[in-house]
Symmetry: C4
Subunit: 243 residues, 4 copies
């Protein structure tokens, strides 16, 4: 891990941009990176869930270990290779934060979200194809109740806190920080930390280990957005340099 | 991992400060970072313990694998994002060391400990809420006897040796070093390495996988402080540059 | 969200070479590095598969966890130590990409592939010797059908995308990126991500956990090459700087 | 595919020292670092083996997963914090290599080995104390036969190749490379990769998961030294710059 860059810590603006400079890549490539990266993310989440469930002989903890390992490792890679192109949001809640901070125009932010959702759905289809299941599925896995929603709020709070803290102090370790955060959150939240509205929508289209019934999705997404916005407020105060 | 910074190795003071420069952040933000970081740490420790126990079908080693993965990964993230604000102690034994070295005033050190304990308890409550259990619990898990106490002394010795060594030679890898150390110590000590008085107190309030009966806590805390102070002495001698 | 290295992003050529400078080492040492590295890779893949199967008591997910951990960790090491000598391809599909880009002469590329295949077979033999099995074996493990082939195409696509993205933006993390990618791909593809024609051929010579029946190998290899070439096209477009 | 650091590759001596500069620390501190580091290493290896066996309900693969995780993670930490003091050999086979290259005097090398063996035995005792077992034990776990010896030769070959390659090209990642190598080798060798004569001797004093019967130890140690010397020869040739 690289050392904190002193110029950021000492001479940077009090509330520096979250977004590294992305000028070399135009909107078309940025949207393609969001779509492709989110597609691969969903192929990883769904595919490793199926693999875990098939092999684990009914022990859900072992299945979740494989699912966790694949997702955490995969996220580090995807953020490393697509981050310099599009920022590697892969997540409407993350895009929302950049839009709120006016680092992304409303129009581009909407296009990001559309690319993420499209990619996510295609990634679920790819996972089903790899495991020879029906391409089109609807999850029957209910994940309801206030404890599940609270879990998603905590999961998204932690994710946004991780991204904001990493981009502020150690932008070069952001891919690793996000991968490790999700590795942890798969286990410490009761919902296994979806923490991502596009991922939630797409996972409702898979009747497998990592699926979520469509009826459970709206509460998840609302909780995710609430947790993300809470993290923006808390971390915004915490990381502000005093005069 | 960054290469060792030669200036530290060759030109730095013989017994340099452990604490990276934290001036940009005032006491309020530092205490908030300690409280929030410790809360998230406990949410991770307790939450992943519950998840592991629920899913592992009675196999405690599998539950501990999940608990370990979540805690180690989470610690790397929390220290990376809160370290530049408060030092990311999250642990009264670590704060004690900085106070003994007069790098933290007695008054601020006490406030750090209060923030850590408060955050730790809130983190336990958050984990219980996420898993839909009663918020207030008292652990019934006895962890008694000299072998358990010796384990805690070793665990805290190793933790402080890790922190001192990392801050001396490779401060940029401290978050990873601490996360990996705890990953290891969850398995090589018979007590699963609490190594932290605030964590010990808070875990007495959870009747789950990671809990500890209140009657077992005092011996744990005494052993942790003894191990930490022993590491200060041993590493202080070992890392002192000769004239 | 990885931080782009500004000098590469802004001043480098629009489509920089994938290959770091390898001049100090002549063809003999480069081929030896390819052979030795691929041999060790196969010893790891086959050996850890046997170990997992022997110890896991019939739970294939646990066996795959050990197999995954060993392969991912081992790849990071092998690419770190042999990369500066030969590029650490260990994979004819990767060598093909460099040849297509004319960064490797056709003659040297063919020699690379021969070294890789030879090393891979010797590595399988070494694994059999370590586990006291017959040196010469033929796998009986059928891995047939379009879902398996599609899995291999996805696996190779992702591997090449990982390599191209890492070499473009963060060449120093390439060993880690490839190790993490394979860690993930062992779980998210239905074929456990061979993604390598030399590895596929050699694994047909092992009637163990990680083997593949010779009759299943040709479809795997064709799919791998197709996936790799697709990634060259897609990533070539995605990473091209606009005028 | 790691990026070579150009100054080393192009301006360094053709066969640079393996040892980073250690001048600030005198022999007393260096020997203390070897003893303390090796003691902690053995406490980790034996302790996590006991923990794994106790919790895994008879599934040796799950026990080995915990043992592997603890050992790999612990090694990264120990090498990071003791490496700048003593080189963090913790292993007579590694010390032998430095002595053969005359980077360590014969006298200091012997003192290193004595410190390693003493530390290793004390570390085993500490693990037994932590787990409330008898301090003095003799292993009854036979690990005999040519396949086991060949495994140890391969394990030591790989370890020395890892150290030589990492110190040559990326000295800053050596702790991580060694930790990952051992993580891999615990699974891909039939002997679970002792790869260290001091560790082998000390593990003969533990009748637990990680033990080895004293009668099996001599063949292990001979094979380790043979493998290490083979790696010195092969890597010495491979990494030599051509005129």
């Amino acid at each position: 891990m690289a050392e904190p860059r002193p110029e950021r810590l000492q001479a940077g603006p009090a509330d520096a941009s979250l977004e590294p400079p992305l000028q070399p890549f135009g909107p078309g490539r940025r949207l393609a990176a969001e779509a492709l990266g989110t597609a691969l993310l969903l192929a990883i989440v769904i595919g490793s869930g199926i693999m875990g469930e098939r092999l684990a002989g009914g022990n859900a903890a072992i299945a979740l270990l494989g699912n966790t390992l694949a997702t955490g490792a995969g996220l580090v890679v995807l953020i490393s290779i697509f981050g310099p192109v599009s920022g590697a949001h892969f997540n409407p809640a993350v895009t929302l934060i950049f839009a709120v901070r006016r680092e992304l125009s409303a129009r581009l932010a909407l296009a990001y979200v559309a690319a993420q959702v499209t990619g996510a759905v295609l990634g679920v289809f790819a996972a089903h194809a790899m495991f020879a299941g029906p391409i089109l599925q609807i999850s029957t896995k209910l994940r309801d109740g206030p404890a599940q929603a609270f879990s998603e709020a905590v999961a998204a709070f932690g994710l946004v806190a991780t991204i904001r803290g990493a981009l502020r102090f150690r932008p070069d370790v952001t891919p690793m920080a996000v991968g490790l955060y999700i590795t942890s959150a798969y286990w410490f939240t009761a919902s296994t930390a979806f923490a991502n509205p596009a991922v939630t929508l797409a996972r409702s289209l898979s009747d497998t280990f990592a699926g979520i019934a469509p009826s459970s999705a709206p509460a998840f997404i609302a909780a995710q957005l609430a947790g993300a916005l809470a993290a923006v407020a808390v971390m915004g105060w915490l990381l502000r340099r005093e005069a």
